[in-house]
Amino acid sequence: MRKRRVVEGLLEAETDVNFGHGESTGYNDAIVEFDQVVFSYGHVEVLHEISFRLERGQIVGLLGPNGAGKSTTIKIIAGIHAHRSGNVRVAGLPLPERAIDVKQRIGYVPEAAMLFETLTGQEFLELCGRLHGVEEDTLQARIAGILETFSLSSDRVLRLDAYSKGMRQKILIAAALLHNPDLILLDEPLSGLDVNAAILVKDLIAALAAEGKTILYSSHVLDVVEKICDRVLIIHQGRLIADGSAEGLKESTKQTTLEDVFRVLTNSANVDPGVGRIVSVLRS
């Protein structure tokens, strides 16, 4: 109920839908400012002058086909990648110059679960909390609380190489939240989670947003994005092609679901020929 109230409030505030013009939407209380950002891997440019702003307390869905530049965008905000040109500010701090201060303020769940395999769940979380300077008593209380919620209390002393994919994902989510960050970057956070854990994380996202946290949520599961996000950004081939609420995007494109909006905007409306080709190749 509380989540719905927050979402409705934000939808009312958001009046414009922006299709790929790369202009800011006029919010005042921005926690992330992306202004004409260009990023390259070597000589391959993967983000082309992307601009957007994220406001405090928003849940923003980041969508796009594989290789569109979603994870790269998140990594730039997390201070892991340095962009080639343009300006990026997080909580008013310029990146990459103030990357350390930014990293103090963000929680990040990466797409691939990179962990120190020989540490236990408890040890890994302690390491992350201490690197963020969380006081020991607070840290232990938070670890205990989060692990209990995720039903990992009894597994806390197991090495991470013995964890299943879902358990590792829970540890990553816990590590991202331990220092109570203002901005939470989630790159496919539901990957590998069972149904109960996925519901828990979705409710958690809503609750954190209600606490004033900003959440950038990258996912391919469009119905989840449609349900929990106040605003949706769609990136395609390194360009921001849509920015607005799910309802606004559906209305503007005259589609009934976010999935249909996505298909229309990313030119993947008709996948039948591709499917037919695969089946015929397999028959040959």
Binding site: P96, M114, F116
Partner: protein, 536 residues
């Protein structure tokens, strides 16, 4: 002790150097914990067991080096300088490789990339951990020389051992800092996509320096005098300025490394991730598929060919081959004109056995790769395909390491010797190399590139390498004294070698296929993450 070391004074000192003390100690504890639990095995500095074994080997080497001074007792200064140079050279071989692996392929830094850690703090912790190697190896190498100084030096004095140990330790530390500074400069000047390749070239340089130390010394010693300006005053200034310049280069190199290291980490690990790779089907793979076992053989050929070129962990394991190839080239250049049937000894007699050494090094390294986690795909392969896959791997090794080099040798030698001698020698060399390949196939303990590199395994092959050196010397002697005295004798021996190669290869291929199947079975029984999931 730990509390004292990590007290407010140390904290102030670290802060003055721009290092966050809290996170520095946290990272140092983390690296120690990971080393104790053997999480990442391909770094000597992180593998305590290998470090201890290597220390004992260095004690032995130090003792051997002392023997060289017994006949002509040196002065204390000469003895000290000689061992400082030996320490710097030997540690340089290890530390440049260590620093390269640790700083250019920072897998563990990727886990920490989004944590609030300054580049300076991370690199300081990393360097401290790497320099553990100096803490073990420099005293180990110099323990016997320091103690033996009482019997070796012209004029021994009671406190010499302390000076010797301290000076050589400092030499080791400076070498370590130089190694890190070197990579600091490389990180600045080379793009991430090129960095790993450049690092491999740099890692090979100390081995070449050790191999050609004599020639390098002769050239530089002769030229330094000429380069230095006339006049004792100017020479004094140069003597002062040069070490200051060297120190500045090292310090700025370390500084360059630490600046924005944590932002570069992701780019470093993924290196040329954005680059496109040309991939075309090799005609040789068509032949292998046609005659040696169909699609599985083609799979073994193509998989091994591509990863041998692209796998960074594999390529850096083979750095030792570079000096070997260079010395083979030098030997051939010097002795290539001498016909092996002329009755005169030349390097040409050794060449077939150098193929054996190279094949041995490849065989012990090929199982280990940087992307070993991808080997789960073999869990899904039917067990029957491994025989064909093994033949594909064999086909690639024979083609790339025996066939092509011998074709090149044939094209060169045909201009130097009579045609019949060239043909006979090339077939003889081919049969020797093929026999070696048949034998070393037994050492490939699993699917190529399917295991995490383990530094310590090199120690276990020392015995084989020493025994192999003796066997090769005997074989070269027999070749020169008996076989290459008559064309008919060479033809007969070549025929026997070819038959032996065929028999040995057939048996080894069967054993290789079994080894691959066995390792797939072991992998599926492990508690490693990906395998557990598949079982579940």
């Amino acid at each position: 002790m730990k509390r004292l070391l990590r007290g407010p004074a140390a904290e102030r000192m670290l802060a003055a150097a721009g290092i966050d003390a809290l996170r520095y100690w946290l990272l140092l504890d983390l690296f120690t914990e990971l080393a104790d639990r053997r999480e990442i095995l391909n770094q000597l500095g992180r593998d305590g067991i290998t470090l201890k074994i290597s220390s004992w080997m260095f004690v032995f080497v130090g003792g051997l080096a002392c023997l060289g001074f017994l006949r002509h007792p040196p002065s204390a200064l000469t003895f000290l300088v000689a061992f400082a140079l030996i320490t710097a050279l030997m540690l340089g071989c290890i530390l440049i490789s260590e620093a390269g692996n640790s700083l250019v392929n920072p897998v563990e830094a990727l886990v920490l990339a989004h944590q609030p850690i300054e580049g300076a703090t991370y690199t300081a912790a990393k360097l401290t951990h790497l320099l553990r190697v100096v803490g073990y190896l420099a005293p180990a190498l110099n323990a016997i020389p320091a103690l033996a100084s009482f019997w070796i030096l012209k004029e021994p004095f009671w406190y010499y051992p302390a000076i010797h140990l301290a000076a050589t330790y400092v030499a080791g530390l400076l070498t370590g800092l130089f190694a890190c500074a070197l990579f600091g400069w490389l990180l600045r000047f080379f793009p991430a996509a090129r960095l790993k390749s450049v690092a491999q070239i740099v890692e090979a340089l100390p081995f070449l320096a050790v191999m050609f130390a004599g020639q390098i010394w002769n050239v530089t010693a002769a030229r330094i005098g000429a380069w230095m300006p006339e006049g004792s005053g100017l020479r004094l200034y140069c003597s002062i300025a040069l070490p200051i310049l060297a120190a500045a280069i090292v310090l700025t190199g370390v500084w360059a490394l630490s600046g924005d290291y944590m932002i570069r980490v992701s780019g470093l690990v993924h290196g040329g991730g954005g680059g496109r790779v040309k991939s075309r089907r090799s005609p040789a793979s068509d032949i292998v598929a046609r005659w040696f076992g169909g699609p599985p053989a083609r799979a073994g050929f193509a998989y091994t060919a591509r990863l041998m070129r692209r796998d960074w962990a594999f390529r850096r394991q083979l750095i030792a081959i570079v000096p070997l190839m260079i010395s083979a080239g030098v030997m051939l250049g010097q002795g290539g004109a001498i016909d092996p049937f002329s009755g005169r000894f030349s390097a040409v007699h050794i060449v077939p056995h150098l193929f054996g050494v190279a094949l041995f090094l490849v065989a012990i390294a090929i199982v280990y790769g940087g992307d070993h986690k991808g080997s789960w795909v073999f869990l899904l392969a039917p067990s029957g395909v491994f025989a064909g896959f093994a033949r594909g791997v064999y086909g690639l090794l024979w083609f790339a390491m025996i066939g092509v080099p011998h074709a090149v040798l044939l094209a060169v030698l045909v201009w130097l010797w009579p045609l019949s001698h060239v043909l006979l020698w090339v077939v003889f060399s081919l049969s020797v190399a093929s026999l070696y390949l048949g034998m070393v196939l037994r050492l490939i303990d699993g699917i190529p590139f399917s295991k995490q590199p383990v530094t310590s395994r090199g120690v276990y092959f020392m015995g084989i390498m020493m025994g192999g050196a003796v066997a090769i010397s005997m074989a070269v002697g027999l070749q020169y004294l008996i076989v290459f005295r008559s064309v008919w004798m060479v033809a007969a021996v070549t025929g026997a070698l070819l038959a032996a190669a065929g028999i040995v290869t057939r048996a080894s291929l069967a054993a290789f296929a079994v080894a691959m199947r066995f390792n797939v079975g072991l992998e599926s029984a492990e508690t490693g993450t990906i395998y557990t999931e598949i079982e579940a």
